[in-house]
């Protein structure tokens, strides 16, 4: 039986050719995907109508801050110049600092800084909007506390000059504290768990998707054999249906595993993916598991079209629920509970947990 199935598999040259092309495309895809690097620089425009010592000091701080400069490009100009650049799509967003902004803030007038965000890209705009909202919380905290101190000092009849000096001193201190907020946190890396960049997450998700499709292919072969009457003939020769299915799963599973492991070994050589004996073993188990599940499905669904609909949808559903498209932490609670039964989730957590 196994010999027959190996011959059948190898003699289907069209499918083999397609598999080979797909493997090559897969390798090319991984190379391309791993070459994708997030753009590190965003471009921000500033229109400074105030031109005060404060705004100059802040701009100097940012200009001299290496961490900030690593991912933000600042372009300063007149409102017309900045707006013209924005209209050309050269700026991600820009600020307009109003005239007398600082003095009005100290004088308890809230003249808001205008922020204009390019919303062509919704994802980017949403992130900038959320960050600015967070930063407005910083400014409110600084402002409320400074104003409270100023009020209190006035109520207690402190000297005007002292009030002004304290205001300037603490304002600057708190503004710098807000800018150096990263120091609030002591970061500790959790050794037993690695992080996964978005592109790598999708590479592994696609890998599991292909593993599931290899199982679907096994099931399809089982279905075709039954539809063409081969199985009933084998049964009449005394070969049990279970034996024919086991043979298919073994042959398809072994050959598919060999193909997957070979492709992954090649990619590992180029340092594109993480691959170890454990991962290989896990993947092989998944391939055989998928083969068994889809072969059973092929026994239950007698129509070729019906099998294709059902198995395709099952694979898509398993991928979605397993966090293959939206990471599990962002799935609704009602759905994320299913994740632990899904192959893509199990595989990704297996890779991440050390």
């Amino acid at each position: 039986m196994i010999g027959k199935d190996i011959k059948l598999f190898i003699s289907d040259t069209k499918t083999l050719l397609v598999l080979l092309v797909l493997a090559l495309l897969g390798i090319a895809g991984v190379f391309l995907a791993s070459g994708i690097t997030p753009p590190t620089v965003i471009t921000v425009g500033i229109v400074d109508h105030e031109q005060s010592n404060y705004s100059e000091m802040l701009k100097t701080y940012f200009a001299e801050n290496e961490d900030f400069n690593a991912f933000v490009n600042i372009y300063e100009g007149t409102e017309e110049e900045v707006n013209a650049r924005f209209e050309k799509g050269e700026l991600d967003f820009y600020f307009i600092i109003p005239e007398n902004f600082t003095s009005e803030m100290i004088g308890m007038k809230n003249t808001p800084i205008k922020a204009v965000i390019n919303s062509d890209d919704k994802a980017k705009a949403a992130v900038y909007g959320a960050l600015l909202e967070s930063y407005s919380r910083y400014i409110t905290s600084v402002e409320v506390n400074i104003e409270s101190l100023t009020f209190r000092m006035r109520e207690e009849d402190y000297d005007r000059q002292l009030i002004r000096d304290k205001n300037v001193e603490i304002s600057w201190d708190l503004v710098m504290t807000a800018l150096g907020k990263d120091a609030f946190f002591e970061r500790e890396a959790f050794d037993r768990m690695a992080s996964l960049p978005l592109t790598d997450h999708y590479i592994y998700s696609v890998l599991i998707l292909l593993v599931l499709y290899s199982g679907m292919l096994t099931g399809y072969a089982v279905l075709l054999e039954r539809k063409s009457g081969v199985r009933s003939r084998l049964v009449s020769c005394g070969i049990s249906p279970a034996r024919t299915i086991i043979s298919k799963v073994l042959v398809y599973g072994t050959l598919m595993s060999a193909a997957f492991l070979a492709v992954m070994t090649v990619m590992k050589q180029f340092g594109k993916i993480e691959f170890s004996f454990g991962i290989g073993l896990y993947l092989t188990a998944l391939i055989f598991g998928a083969g068994i599940v889809f072969s059973v499905l092929a026994l239950l669904i007698r129509s070729k079209n019906g099998y294709c609909f059902f198995s395709n949808m099952a694979i898509l559903l398993m991928t979605v629920l397993g966090g293959g498209i939206i990471p599990v932490m962002y799935l609704p609670n009602a759905l994320s509970g299913f994740a632990q039964f899904m192959p893509s989730y199990r595989f990704i957590t297996f890779i991440l947990q050390k």
């Binding site: 909007g129 600015l132 919380r137 905290s141 209190r152 499709y213 129509s303 070729k304 949808m313």
Partner: protein, 358 residues
Amino acid sequence: MGAFVLRLKLLLTDRIATVCYALCVIVMLSVFFNMNLHASDNSRVPMGLLCESESPVAVRLRDRLLGSDALRVTTGSMEELTELLMDGYIGSIFVIGDDYETKLRDGIREDLIKVITPSDDTSSIIVQDIVAGYMMYDVCFFRTYDEYRTLPGNGAETLTEEEYAAFVAEVAEDPDYGFDFDIRYVDIENPDKSGISVTTAMIYRQIIAGLIGMLLLVLVVCGCNGFALEHGQSITARRRTTGGNLFAAYALELLAVLVYLTPAVLLSSLIMIKESGFGGSVVIFLLGEGLCAFFVIVCFALTRAVRSASSYQLVGTVVCLFFGACGFISTFSALTGTQVLGATPVAVYIKQFAEMLV
């Protein structure tokens, strides 16, 4: 019209396939509907929080974080949170130590909170920025109170910390002191969409749109399976011998596949009717039909090219994955630097779908 009716009959009379089709569409769209229903909640950034201190300042920070619109905070013991982190349900654990308040009182502004993240993690920096926003009030309070406390005496009675805190809280409640950026969103490509705020829920809904696009592609691959089977059984060759306008016949048959898939397209366009309105849903329906029409032609071409049904399934799946992946990656083009993929069909579908939601 004979070819159209014949193909439609072929599709509908395969009862098992039609039942599977209906069942799968209902299940998948229910899942997407559920995801859309919780889009606002689930688009918040998940984090774990362990508050080791029962001091009022630490408890206040914990409560502020729990009430945050931007964060989805899970509290628990270190063991529980570690398990959630390892299982991928949260991205980081923030630990408010028992000395949090003491440090603030002592004017220490470093290492106030411990952040535990997977090794090499960088995404939690954004969470840190948000958490820092909620810490700033207390940091500023203790800095200014310390200054107030140490002012040279001028005969006036100095407020106690509680009295001073109540005074600051009173000022904070004054609406004049809430600083906000005057944020304006400008859509350069579609100026009529300018001025509408964009939220993180929008990104989530874009991904759901991508999933719907993927679902439609998979349905098209399955819907065209009949062509591959017939081609493999040499029915195409036999049809050629009968003469007649095969091009027109196939065009009608492809139309029949499109009609067969229309209920799925229609249902998928209604998932976000609350956000898009009726007019938007009509446009989304037309977009879905357009995507399916394009892909029906692609799949038909594939059935001619690969000949065997197994090969067609393989190639069709990979083409689906390719277009789907392009769509998803293009959604995050700003974050992944792959703007060029925006011209692919699913990417266009997602973008236009999102336009209907704002």
